[in-house]
């Protein structure tokens, strides 16, 4: 625990299907009900049934954005869960606080006493089978054990249990309360508390929601007014669709399960052409398949939001593992040159607001917009302040809340639709009266769309280069004018909108020991690392841009100029953001710090590397945790 603060990491591990994930969810909800903050990192087995699953819940009295370096308490539902975590238990001897192991003594007996580890054996399986006569209550018994041992507020946890089971009737709630009480009773009668960990008293609960990453994407998209979603199942993006389908229907929209990812994007673009806010969500392989339509969206200037819930690549790669290796394909994928924008979320809360922003950019600029997230963020859940959606009488929608990148509110943007009434002088009409969908001389590059049904904006779209009135034509003059028109939209975006995504910046010194730039989930971990480095006495500047493309070079250059070294931690091999910044800015020296083992960094790895970089006066290069520790270390 951090000094004087409440900050506890509880990990529940065991066989998939034994209620491990549910137990973690209960702990998260309990924290919210007791007025505390929580982040819950889950991992499911890759197998369809069985295999090791875990849920790591960090509970704190202030917002935290990572699940820390390791657990304080491990609740192991079986022997495998102990073995999987042995590497962390062994590390306890070098740490300044003990680790606690609560384990199912029906399944496991420790063969050694590890230093600085406190053991609490509980026959979880036996209690579930023999006393409760219901094996499925094992996780609730375990919650009772944890509640008694660590003083988890009883009312909050019982409310969480009731909320989950009340739909199934009073009897089921009672059975689960009984299981919970059984766990508590076992502890009282059989165990002596030996550890220092204890929940504080409940506080007045904040107005919060608990969402998973993909759920936040779904809810944010609904708030933005999405009307059409085309889906094709792919791990770990499928659940965006699962979460959005019911809401979408209730809002008068539709989710169409396509026959493949090519179709998904084709359908979403068709719906966009027909006037609807449209999206699709996929993972790396799906982005590869969509590439041709991404390029088509670029030339036809159709607004579209594409969510990339990244997974470990390449090829089929590691579908259930974390990686941030799609930045290249999202930035550069698709043939030819065309404008696009890329937003990347660092937390679940970000996912909500950036989904709205992605629609805003797509609709305003009529470009493909990528919202990049990843598999670990997808199934992470977070407690965060409830976003507020105000639907005004005039149709305007304004979203407020604790917007993590420092803006006060987001007004939902709708596309510019041609209105003949407002175009009396015929700015968007040819001398013969034809609608000029792609007029080239607007200062912003943006031109109004014609929506089917309007007799005044008839036109065809085509993937061919075209004249202002959309006739295919490839003369050098037309080509250059049309290209310039399309790319002028990116200049407008950099001028009018980029800054709002660059606000999450902290400058401690004009000559800091280190400046950290990071993106996606890694940013939420780097943030904690930066704080620890500060506590050690280093000066640290931080910058977590949410907009990764286009790049406003001067913002990055100025940030880089204020530190002795620039470190970019990210979880891919190339150091993809570092690569892009080397290409688009005048920043000379960048230290790329990468991990590509299929797991997120832990804060300690970033702290240890940056300490090393400062001590050895490293200014540039490419490094991995192996350069710090001499070996590949798993974190989860």
């Amino acid at each position: 625990m951090a000094s004087g603060k409440f900050d506890l990491v509880i990990k529940v591990g065991g066989e998939g299907g034994e209620g491990v994930i549910t137990a973690g969810d209960f702990l998260t909800e309990t924290a919210a009900r007791a007025g505390y903050w929580a982040v819950n990192y889950k991992s499911y087995p890759a197998e369809i049934k069985g295999g090791y699953a875990q849920s790591t819940v960090r509970v704190s009295d202030e917002r935290v954005y990572s699940t820390g370096d390791s657990f304080d308490i491990l609740c192991a539902f079986n022997g495998e869960a102990v073995e999987k975590n042995m590497v962390f238990l062994r590390r306890a001897k070098d740490e300044n606080k003990p680790k606690v192991l609560v384990y199912d003594s029906t399944d496991y007996t420790p063969d050694e006493e590890l230093e600085n580890v406190i053991y609490y054996p509980v026959p979880l399986s036996e209690l579930a089978k023999d006393v409760m006569k219901a094996y499925i209550t094992k996780n609730i018994i375990a919650l009772g054990v944890l509640a008694e041992l660590f003083g988890i507020p009883e009312q909050s946890i019982k409310d969480a249990i009731k909320a989950k089971f009340m739909r199934k009737g009073e009897k089921i709630v009672e059975m689960n309360y009984k299981a919970f009480d059984l766990g508590r009773q076992y502890v009282r009668e059989n165990l002596q508390k030996k550890d220092p960990y204890r929940f504080p008293e409940p506080r007045t609960p904040e107005n919060v929601v608990i969402m998973e990453g993909n759920q936040a994407v779904a809810k944010g998209s609904i708030a933005a007014g999405v009307e059409f979603y085309a889906a094709y199942p792919i791990t770990p993006a499928t659940t965006v669709g699962n979460y959005i389908v019911n809401d979408l229907i209730k809002r008068g929209g539709w989710l169409y399960q396509a026959e493949d990812e090519i179709s998904s994007l084709g359908m979403a673009l068709g719906a966009s052409f027909a006037g609807k806010k449209s999206m699709t969500a996929t993972s790396g392989p799906g982005i590869s398949l969509m590439s041709e339509f991404i390029s088509y969206a670029g030339i036809t200037e159709l607004p579209i939001v594409i969510v990339d819930v990244q997974r470990g690549g390449p090829g089929t790669g590691m579908p259930t593992k974390h990686e941030q290796a799609d930045l290249f394909i999202c930035t550069f994928g698709g043939h030819g040159d065309f404008p696009r924008a890329i937003l990347a979320a660092t937390t679940v809360e970000d996912n909500f607001y950036l989904a709205v922003e992605a629609f805003n950019l797509a609709e305003k600029y009529q470009i493909p917009v990528f919202l990049m997230t990843d598999g670990a963020l997808a199934i992470r859940s977070e407690v965060f302040p409830t976003p507020q959606v105000e639907q005004r009488e005039d149709g305007k929608v304004v979203i407020r809340g604790n917007i993590p990148y420092g803006v006060d509110e987001i007004e939902v943007v709708n596309r510019w639709i041609y209105n003949a009434e407002e175009d009396k002088e015929g700015k968007f009409r040819s001398p013969t009266g034809r609608f000029l969908r792609y007029k080239t001389d607007t200062p912003t590059g943006i031109t109004p769309m014609g929506i089917p049904g309007d007799p005044n904006a008839l036109h065809a779209i085509t993937g061919l280069e075209r004249t202002e009135n959309t006739d295919p034509r490839f003369t050098p003059e037309i080509r250059v004018k049309q290209m310039n028109k399309r790319f002028r939209k990116l200049q407008t975006l950099l001028r009018e909108d980029a800054d709002r995504y660059y606000k999450d910046m902290r400058i401690d010194s004009d000559n800091a020991d280190v400046g950290i730039i990071s993106w996606g989930l890694t940013a939420s971990i780097a943030r904690e690392a930066a704080q620890r480095l500060r506590e050690m006495g280093y000066t640290v500047n931080e910058f977590y841009p949410r907009l990764l493309w286009p790049v406003k070079a001067e913002v990055f250059e100025e940030f880089a100029s204020k530190a002795k070294r620039l470190v970019i931690p990210e979880t891919n091999y190339h150091g993809q953001l570092a690569f892009i910044l080397r290409a688009t800015t005048n920043i000379k020296d960048i230290i790329s710090y990468v991990a590509y083992r299929g797991e997120a960094f832990i804060p300690k790895e970033i702290v240890d590397f940056i300490k090393m970089a400062i001590e050895k006066d490293i200014k540039k290069g490419w490094f991995t945790p192996s350069d710090v520790y001499g070996t590949v270390v798993g974190a989860i």
């Binding site: 909800e29 919210a32 009900r33 409310d159 969480a160 009731k162 909320a163 009340m166 107005n207 919060v208 929601v209 608990i210 759920q215 809810k219 609904i222 059409f228 085309a230 809401d247 229907i249 209730k250 809002r251 008068g252 539709w254 169409y256 396509a258 026959e259 493949d260 090519i262 179709s263 084709g266 359908m267 979403a268 068709g270 719906a271 052409f273 027909a274 006037g275 609807k276 449209s278 041709e292 339509f293 409830t386 507020q388 959606v389 639907q391 929608v397 013969t432 014609g450 089917p452 049904g453 007799p455 008839l458 036109h459 065809a460 779209i461 085509t462 993937g463 061919l464 006739d471 295919p472």
Partner: protein
């Protein structure tokens, strides 16, 4: 609104097809069919892929989308699901629909989307200058198969019947009157309609000429007594005979006419049922607040 004529459905863009291309006939027939139905041009959306035939929507006045090779159907589905009030017509070719785009055919048909698919079948890739297609005849030479086609052909009529299309017909670019009648019916049909149009390519397919079809065309409804068009088995049986024309082109006839027509609920009918069951939620905040810890 004034009465619209065929030319009111034509855009200012002049076709770029070769002289004698069957697709001119298809364009004329489509414009006439739309005029006879007095469709509002602003509410007709033509969608195409890539190929000679796929240029067609660019020559129509209305809202049109010339999309990617093989992907017209996907885009058309998006348009139709988003805006069921629009008439959506896919213009495609034998390569576009049955080679690169074949994966989409089963799914648009089984769902019975209310879309019309007009396929111009010239049995050749023309835009890329003479390669064999999935409907090419045996022995037909192509630049990539100079030794003559050894690949076998597919029967588009049988496929679309099997996949669940609820209107399936074949017509011929050399018979404007028949084309107009069939295209009109296909557009008016509620559900997935598929029209295969034999559309000669005088530039690259010398065998399937106007002269050949003049001698071989037979109307299955008028001449062969195929009148029970709601009978799936009879439609399939008639469709099988399209293969005769491949096996023995000199003696077997080339069929035109309606193979199958049946009324079934469309995809949109079923969407409406689901939407009614769900009801409408006017307040977005309510959909977010369900993520709060539940009140006990």
């Amino acid at each position: 609104m004034a009465v619209l004529t065929a030319k009111d459905y034509r855009s200012e863009v002049e076709p770029t097809w070769c002289a004698g291309c069957g697709d001119y006939g298809v364009l004329n027939a489509t414009a006439r069919a739309l005029a006879e139905l007095q469709k509002d041009p602003a509410k007709v959306v033509g969608v195409s892929g890539i190929g000679c035939s796929s240029r067609l929507p660019l020559f129509l006045k209305g809202y049109n989308a010339h999309t990617l090779h093989g992907r017209a159907i996907t885009f058309a589905i998006g348009v139709k699901v988003a805006r069921p009030d629009l008439d959506v017509i896919v213009f495609t070719g034998d390569g576009d629909m049955f080679s690169i785009g074949s994966g989409h055919n089963p799914h648009v048909a089984r769902r019975n989307l209310d879309i019309t698919i007009i396929m111009m079948d010239n049995k050749v890739y023309g835009l890329t200058k003479n390669q064999i297609s999935p409907t090419s005849r045996d022995g037909q030479p192509g630049t990539l198969t100079p030794y003559g086609n050894i690949d076998g052909h597919i029967n588009p009529i049988m496929y679309m019947l099997t996949f669940g299309a609820t209107y399936v017909a074949q017509t011929y670019a050399g018979n404007l009157k028949h084309m107009v009648k069939i295209i009109k019916e296909a557009i008016a049909h509620r559900g997935l309609s598929f029209v295969n149009i034999i559309s000669p390519c005088p530039t690259f397919n010398k065998f399937d000429s106007y002269k050949y079809y003049k001698d071989h065309i037979v109307d299955i409804n008028e001449d062969l007594g195929h009148t029970e068009i709601d009978n799936f088995n009879k439609a399939m049986e008639m469709a099988i005979h399209w293969d005769d024309n491949y096996r023995d082109p000199m003696n077997a006839k080339a069929h035109i006419g309606v193979y199958y027509k049946v009324e079934k609920p469309t995809y949109h009918d079923r969407i409406k049922e689901v939407q009614e069951r769900y009801g409408y939620e006017p307040n977005i905040q309510n959909l977010i607040d369900v993520c709060k810890p539940k009140a006990i």
